[in-house]
Every structure is written in C-alpha cells, then in structure tokens.
Amino acid sequence: MAFAERNELNKNLAQMLKGGVIMDVTTPEQARIAQDAGACAVMALERIPADIRAAGGVSRMSDPAMIRGIQEAVSIPVMAKVRIGHMAEARILQAIEIDYIDESEVLSPADDVYHIDKRQFDVPFVCGAKNLGEALRRIEEGASMIRTKGEPGTGDVIQAVRHMRTMNRQIRELASLRDDEVYEAAKQLAVPYELAMYVHENRRLPVVNFAAGGVATPADAALMMELGAEGVFVGSGIFKSGDPAKRAAAIVQATANWQDSDLLARLSENLGEAMVGINEDEIETIMAARGE
C-alpha cells in the first residue's frame, strides 16, 4: 500500500481516539483496569515515566513479550514507545503489530540528530512536540498524530500547558498572515512550505493533536481540553496515585465532559492521593528538550 493511503488510515485511527484518554500501563492487569475505566487506548511500557525518572540510566523499548501480554489482555488499541531515532526498535514493534508507535522523548534518545523516517513504516507514529515547528517536522517525517511533550513523570501540568498554548498561538499567527508571507514563516519555523500553507489555510495541524506530560487530575485533563487538546495522554498520573481505577474513570469522564463544572466537582471528590509530583524547577532531566 502506498504511503499516502496508509497515512490516511493511520490519521483516521487517531480521529477515532479523539475525546478519549490514553493511559500508560505496565502490566496486563493495569491494562484491564484502564480499559474498564474507559481508556480509548493504552500505552504499554515497562516503567512509567515517574519511575524512569527516579531510576535514571538508559531506558529503552519494552520487552515485546510484555507488550504482547497487554495486547492479549485488552480489545482497545495498544501503543508502545521507541527511542527517538531508533528505527530497529520501531521495526520490532511493527512486527508485533502494535497499533501506534510513540517515538518518545520519555525514553533515552538513540539519535541526537535524526528522527525515524516514519514514511518507511506501515504502522502509525505519534510524536511529541513543544511548538508548531517540531509538530510539522514530525508530520513531514510521517507522524500521523501529535501530542504535546509536557514534562513526563512530574505530575506538573505547566509544560503541557506551555506547549499547547505555544502551538495554538503559532497556528493562529500563521493563519493570520498574508499568503505571500507564508514562505518566510515556513523558513522561520524550519518546516516545509506545503505544511505551513496547510496550517495557514486550515488554522489547525493536519493531524489530531493530544495533550501529554504532567496530567494528574480530572481538572488537569479538563484544562488541556479547554486549551484545544483533542484528547489526553495520562502517564504516571494514574498508577502512581492512591486509587488508580477511580482516578482513571474520573479522568475519562472529565475529558469527555470538560465543560461541565458541576460534574468536574463531583469527579474531583475523594479520589485519594494524587501522584506526589515534582515541580519543573526541581527536576534534573528535561525530557521535553530531547529531539527538536
């Protein structure tokens, strides 16, 4: 199948995930809890970002056997992460028919210059971005879904907010230009002219855009939806909290009905302890700086 046709189907899958929550899980049991809570997909990984951060060292693609165990446990789509630039890990995930590959800054980068040429793959890729330039470069490389980077494993939503606001502000700026100013804007953003023109004309990315990195509460999820996210990734926020099943279900409902303040108030009650969280100025490793 030609890349264009495959890419369209892959962008379509992201459209089906919209309005939903994608949850990090490390075991089949957690995957079932996530599915029962209403997750629209799960991200299978050996350690959630908060533990990766705590453990230090090199973090890599998860064991395919562990990912298969999660694929067998649930009927919703299963995603998994590869290191930035690690096409061999990506080929392994394609071989086990993963539904979406996250070329992720959460893992240790394998390449400090090049991302994976995602057009060479049939499985879809989602990539993180801090701003419009990063998002469009990943899309040019073949990504069929974008998420903000945020700062994974912190439980601090500030960076996800910053990245979503930055991206959407840059989109509005690009849309407001005269047509003949888009050439220069594309140069400034370091992106192909055609993609800059698409954003200029359509006032949005050509793929679905989720929020990720630091979402820990129903209110965080609602905040990101209000800022224009089309759905939410929750990593450490669920299984690092006191009552994962309840918190997961509450975040799912908050994402679906983010405008309903009465509901959000009820959902936020008695959720037990949230993940501890680390402020952005207390962390040593800035994962969002990986891969621009």
Partner: protein, 239 residues
C-alpha cells in the same frame, strides 16, 4: 482528512434555535468519545440541524434521530451510562425512531458480540465481531455497493421490496437507498458475523457483511464520516 478546526469547539449547527420549534427535526450526535465532529461536518454539508449529545439533558424534544459515531465502543458504552444518555437513546430506539451507528456505533446497537458478553442497546438482530480485521495494520479502504432498500424479514441483498409496510417505507424514501461505489474505510473495524431474521444485509465487502438495516436502524462497520461522500447520511435523513 481531519475535521475543520471550527468543530473542535462547535456544539450545534448554526441557527439551531430557529429550527427547534415545531416537530422534532434535529439530529443528535452522541459526543461522549470518538469521531462525532466528523458526523457534524457531514450534516453541515447537507445543511441540516444537529446538536452534540454530551449528557442526558442534551437529549430534548427536538431530537428526531440519533447518530452513534466511531470511536472505542468500550469507552463509549461506559460513558453512555455515566452521562445519562443510555436511557433516552434506548427509549428512542424502542419508539422505532431512526438511529445510525458507525463502527463502534454498530457494536453498541448489536444484540450480540462475539467473545464478549457485553450488550449495549441490543437493538439490531445481528452478531458483531469486533476488531475483525486484526490490529491497525489490518485497516483498509475499498469501494462497495450499498443497498438499504430491503427492509423485510428474510429479504436478500438486492431483492425487490414487497409487502405493504415495505412498499410504504420505500415510497416514503425520497433518497435512493441504493448507493453504488461508496468509499468504505475500515479502521480496526468490526464485521457482522451473523444476521438474524429481523435485520437485513445492506452491504458486503470481501464476502463479509459490513452494513445492515433493521427498520429505522442502520449500521455500518465502516466510517462514512471519514469520507466526503454524503449519500449514506442523506439516506439516513430520509428515514
């Protein structure tokens, strides 16, 4: 093709308040999760009123028909109950009013699922196999001929409609229920593995049933809302 940016924040069609008076005329699009905005964009192309249904209170007297969009059926099934949308939609179905389910929506309408005891509305006399083509690598697009004209028990695909009720139904249709060369897009799609007596086959792809009709209920395993072909929506609006 991603949906137009305006649909990220749009809750109803334009000028909805102007059409709310009189008989129910608004298409309610269930908006708990999934590709509901794509259906809204489709209805705007046809210039018909719609509103998103986010909770039970949104389901008011203006609602004449309901669309159950694509997305994740397990997620949607849970949220239908949590949002209070399940009961009014079940009553709408019981009253014989029109419902259109796409992909996850077909799963929600089915009377039985293979390998899963969960039943949602259980309204259509079909058994549905979820993720019938495997994972995302099995997703595909094709062209298919669709025929929603058969709506009698034991009717076969393409058979001429007979019987008074079916005749009346057929005559009432201003829109052609036969739709040739329709672009069908399957995204981790289901298929219908068994069609009971009350339901009728409307389309087949690769020898498998992928669209069904049962009275005013229609369901497709594929995603008309991801195309720019409005013919199936036009047919649904004629019900």
């Amino acid at each position: 093709m991603v949906v137009d940016v305006s649909y990220i924040s749009k809750e109803t069609s334009d000028h909805l308040e102007d059409v709310m008076l009189g008989a129910p005329s608004v298409t309610g699009i269930v908006a708990v999760q999934g590709a509901f905005a794509e259906h809204a964009a489709m209805l705007d192309r046809l210039g018909v009123p719609w509103k998103l249904l986010r909770n039970g209170e949104d389901f008011d007297d203006s609602i004449a028909r309901v669309i159950l969009p694509g997305g994740e059926s397990t997620t949607q099934g849970k949220l239908l109950h949590q949002t209070g949308l399940y009961e009014p939609i079940a009553a709408h179905i019981a009253a014989g009013r029109p419902v259109f389910g796409t992909c996850a929506g077909m799963i929600l309408l089915a009377r039985e699922l293979e390998d899963d005891p969960t039943v949602h509305f259980g309204a259509m006399d079909v058994t549905v196999r979820r993720n019938a083509y495997g994972r995302q690598l099995g997703s595909f697009s094709a062209d298919a001929d669709i025929d929603f004209s058969v709506d009698v028990a034991d009717g076969d695909l393409g058979e001429e409609v007979t019987g008074d009720a079916a005749e009346a139904d057929y005559v009432a249709c201003e829109v052609n229920p036969r739709i040739d060369d329709y672009p069908v897009v399957f995204i981790r799609g289901p298929l219908v593995s068994n069609v009971g007596e009350e339901a009728n086959v409307a389309a087949m792809v690769n020898g498998q049933v992928v669209a069904v009709r049962q009275g005013n209920l229609i369901a497709t395993a594929f995603h008309p809302e991801l195309t720019d072909d409005t013919r199936i929506h036009e047919f649904f609006l004629s019900l």
